[in-house]
Symmetry: C2
Subunit: 369 residues, 2 copies
DNA sequence: CTGTTAGCGCCTTCAA
DNA sequence: TTGAAGGCGCTAACAG
């Protein structure tokens, strides 16, 4: 490995002092340098293939040009959209973005904050799905607060109930409105495909959905809430389980058997709500594989309004969340506020932005007669 | 902003020297430290909320624990999958991943490599789609080589024809095989929806596809190759343009007008190849909006086999690329080899892995009678 | 305008 | 085993 070229090398080669070289290359404030010397320094730098050491700069300047983003899984389209938003906002400020995925490991979340803190990242945007795990939650809070007290800027996407800038996504309220709308359309027997119990986002959507149904006078049978991984395959498996439970039996047997013209007796479900679009797509696939028609035999709704899924047919009823925008806002929010350890949340200016989703009704949940 | 706690603070608080504190916390090689002292130091660190300064460590150690990944657009599912692979591989080595999107700007690619180089990133995985722009290509090569000569580890995904570790994706060959397979199925008049001309990936797929058709004795009318952005909407727009060109006219008018029973005369196309799945989906949407049935009226094929699109119907014929695996391999490849400036490509051990895609025929391109 | 001189926070010889 | 001191690459006073 060839040795790194340092500023001293450049200065020597150009016949100036390191101070001059530094000023010529990066221009100290107020200071100016002779054009001819500067040209010489720049030529030397180019000649020697010099690359300034950002770490050394960070040490002396006490700050970096890096921001950190922590997400659940970058392969999740929703997280990718958020990341794109953060990166776009970062680009306008000439900042570099470091991304890490927690892959559903609460401790990974803590480790990543810790790492970002060591790097002296200028800001951290934490969008890892919240976990319902008290221990890791405590350590996370500690780490985050330690970072913030040290002058770090933070924004949390999804409520962590911490005295930090937050973009709260109203999962519960949005799911509630979705449920109300669907009840209005005539749906009366729903099943839910939820994510892992440890993920609060999923739980909020389920409880909000249930609240909405309650409000509409529709009850949700607890046996019809199936937990599974947050993925497409999770949706497929959960839906299959639901079918094996006989949740839809009237459609496949009774309706055909009695031929009475009464379809969908109260024993069978008429609607499946998956806590995210990806799971919903998996559910639709499972239904199709079993010969169940959507929405003729059963309706399906999701959550997120993932753009790459906007073209699946039947078009999916869902709740739209502007993730890219949220990502950009999160970074701005983080960077816009400084943390003062001696003030309480409000005085300190920790701000909370609440984002509600838009219910989008599409083909997968038509009005029922 | 509260001031940062330094190692000196911790040492003072624990009543030891900074040297001892350093060794207690990170354990220098060969050196060992009294258990009791170490406990005291660790207690002090915890008490003071100490966070080691990774930048300072990087300066003195001359290396970091960061790897950089450069992609076209992280919101592109294909890139996100690659990123997930890189991150997974990085996690096993305790490395942090910095991601940046070039957003189709060739100069951004150069800037990002430059930034990563300053950060003294331990490795760079460059997967930004290659641009057919000689100037930026030259600067990119210069920057990349400068980084490699300085001891940096690099892997390039997609051939850059540089003496660097490369994971070559056989876009042309794969597209060729796709074309051959489709010709075998009976397709005779194809149109192509390509990406921006500056992106080599797109061009390779187009030329490979054309070569395959040629080999099968089918010609591709140059007027039927439409360039558009690499996105879903790009696919939609390009397909609309194609329809406005009258590429499908026989289906919508002639076939109905003459009622001769000869459907699909040689004047109309029977197949549309979009250079990636996302564009293909946009194309299908455009067709649907115009009342054209897929595959009954025209067949559609894509490229990438994006997992979230695996459930769209009709299921899309495409070429499968194992992006996640490629990402992981790319990082391993980069980290596994050291660059020796005084050797040529082969001696130096710059390795080239070629990955071919698998042609996957699905409902969108059934055999034609 | 330029050069000299302190550091920045940390690790690592080198003595003790 | 511990501590003192030098140095990593760079910037920012401070003189000249």
């Amino acid at each position: 490995m060839a040795d790194q070229v340092t500023l001293a090398d450049v200065a020597r080669w150009a016949g100036v002092s390191v101070a001059t070289a530094s000023r010529a290359l990066h221009g100290s404030v107020g200071r100016t340098v002779n054009p001819e010397l500067r040209a010489r320094v720049q030529a030397a730098a180019a000649e020697l293939n010099y690359s300034p050491n950002a770490n050394a700069q960070a040490v002396v300047r006490g700050t970096t040009t890096t921001v950190g983003l922590i997400v659940h899984d970058i392969a999740d389209p929703s997280a990718a959209a958020l990341a794109a938003g953060v990166m776009a906002a970062a680009a306008t400020r000439n900042l570099i973005v470091t991304i890490s995925s927690t892959l559903s490991d609460p401790l990974a979340e803590v480790r990543h904050v810790e790492a970002l803190r060591r790097q002296r990242a200028r800001a951290i945007v934490l969008a890892g799905s919240r976990f319902n795990d008290p221990e890791s939650a405590g350590r996370l809070a500690e780490e985050l607060l330690g970072y913030a007290v040290g002058g770090g800027h933070v924004a949390v996407v999804g409520q962590h109930r911490l005295p930090l800038n937050t973009i709260a996504i109203d999962n519960a309220g949005s799911a509630r409105r979705l449920a109300l709308t669907l009840a209005d359309l005539g749906y009366r027997r729903a099943a839910v495909l939820s994510g892992p119990e440890a993920i609060a986002t999923s739980e909020d959507r389920v409880s909000g959905f249930r609240a909405g149904l309650d409000q509409a006078g529709v009850t949700l049978d607890p046996d019809l809430v199936i937990a599974a991984p947050f993925t497409r395959d999770g949706g497929y498996v959960a839906m299959t389980e639901l079918l094996d439970l006989g949740a839809l039996d009237h459609d496949l047997t009774e309706a055909g058997a009695d031929g009475s013209g009464h379809d969908r007796p109260s024993s069978g479900i008429d609607l499946v709500f998956a806590v995210n679009d990806v799971m919903a797509v998996g559910a639709v696939a499972a239904l199709r594989d079993r010969g169940v028609r959507v929405p003729a035999d059963v309706a399906v709704a999701g959550f997120d309004d993932i753009s790459t899924l906007r073209d699946v047919r039947p078009a999916l009823t869902t709740v739209r969340l502007p993730m890219q925008r949220i990502g950009a806002d999160a970074l701005e929010l983080a960077l816009g506020t400084t943390f003062d350890a001696d003030a309480d949340s409000a005085e300190r200016g920790a701000r909370v932005l609440t984002v509600a989703g838009d219910v989008v009704i599409r083909e997968s949940t038509p009005a029922r007669g």
